[in-house]
Symmetry: C2
Subunit: 295 residues, 2 copies
Amino acid sequence: MNTPSFNIAAVERDTGLSKDVLRVWERRYGFPTPERDANGERCYPPDQVERLRLIKRLMDQGHRPGKLLGIPADELSQLMPRRQLRPPPATADLTELLALIKQHDAAGFQHAMQQRLARQGLQGFVQDTVAPLTEQVGAAWEDGSFEVFEEHLFTELTKRLLRQSISSLPAGHGPRLLLTSVPNEEHVLGLLMVETLFALEGADCIPLGPQMPLFDIARAARAHAADIVALSFSQAFPQRRIPGLLLQLRQALPANIELWVGGGGIARLSPLDGVLLLPGFAEALDALAAWRTAR
Amino acid sequence: MNTPSFNIAAVERDTGLSKDVLRVWERRYGFPTPERDANGERCYPPDQVERLRLIKRLMDQGHRPGKLLGIPADELSQLMPRRQLRPPPATADLTELLALIKQHDAAGFQHAMQQRLARQGLQGFVQDTVAPLTEQVGAAWEDGSFEVFEEHLFTELTKRLLRQSISSLPAGHGPRLLLTSVPNEEHVLGLLMVETLFALEGADCIPLGPQMPLFDIARAARAHAADIVALSFSQAFPQRRIPGLLLQLRQALPANIELWVGGGGIARLSPLDGVLLLPGFAEALDALAAWRTAR
DNA sequence: CAGCCTCTTTTGTCCTAGACAAACAACGTG
DNA sequence: CACGTTGTTTGTCTAGGACAAAAGAGGCTG
């Protein structure tokens, strides 16, 4: 048998669309149209899985499923917008770095990044190289010119570099910051960038890694006598769930511990009581300065 | 309202038990017994969530749900076995390290680890400190004497240290190894340990980070002209799914690229065609040596 | 008594089809 | 043009039923 097919769990894993969604789309929109195996279970042919992945990518950019599912497969790919990229800072020529990733030259990429780090200093490196590069890689991934594994490799290597830089910084004295993300939020590059900037400012960062259950975040904050809990939400995180999560966490957290939240996922969020929203690096650094003067 | 309660999605997130399982347990065993909100949806009280988490922990150790769900809450905790720990190597006194984590002394822990690294050398450090320590932390987490966030902190700090050490090694010349894990497998500490050992032996390691979709693993292997793809499965990964995943990957992978698999999750696995199972570090290093002599 | 085969029970995942609320778009009004 | 109201879209929840893979139990044989 040379036509491999996917069961519903495999499709959920590969596309990020939940089983419920896959079934309800089939019912409502007539797509996908999986075959059935001897046991009556769905078998998705590879081309449909591919189309579903494309649809998911377009949805992450704001398109709505009702429209996308009516569009034939070959027209879908033309929808891929060349996303408006604000021109990168004049100092940064990122094309070289992007090209190195595209050529799968891990060593060359690491080397080039090290060089830039040395030239720009850690703060400049984060703000003028890592942040815009991450954005460009995200855009490239969205419009399909980067493969998943290329994005992964970039993320992994960059994380390593940042962590390495952080560990070479002296121990802090400022507020004790606990950095983590909630379950189902795996993206930590943004968190690492903030950690770098905060550590540079002399804050005392406690990195807990991603995906900490809410109650454990609260417990950890108490145990570590943290002043601030900092969370990050990526753009891919379902927006609708964020307010509920934050309120629950805010409730579980002692009142004297602040809750700071950043990342691409909170851009369109309305303010919440007792939660400080930090859409960008500048706001984050301001918040840190403000915290210090308040003591 | 001062009795917070969880909807089914929150419980899935916090316990790791799927919605289907939560519903079917309720039907079959009469536990859990969530209330219903105005809309007829389940609301789990916190103590039941806690009990579910305990049950999940015990299941990960091999207990079966049918028994556990019949046991009243207060007797459950007594079931926690003090897991048979093979006595740690004579050279290693890990209690100091464990105590530092338990005291939430991140800086002290990092310092102590650095010292051990300097004393033991990288290979000795991985085999005699990191590996047994990981095992002890896992055991402590299982029997409840470690909190989730303590385990996370340990993992995060240790990952940083290993990555830092890896990056200080010279570029390799040996086989090109692509290291990653499949979707839903987030544990990468084991993978990092292996990467360290392989890098020490001069292999050319390409770390892709965790959770790579199967087809992208195959694409990445081709793009990077890898000789070997190395995967890792933790004990927590559902055993039943592993053979299927490996077969699918093996099929997608060119025949001349080897597939090596390690980690606690494969201990009880039966051999598979075209897949090399590496239950421990020794086997992994042997495999590397064998690969080299074969060329 | 260890190993292997078979039968039974347990257990997770899949199925259908209906319901509803939150988010979004579209419209009318001040 | 801002703002409330109405309609539509969309994800997630619910209920039981079904089945196959895995685990355990028993029985047989070397």
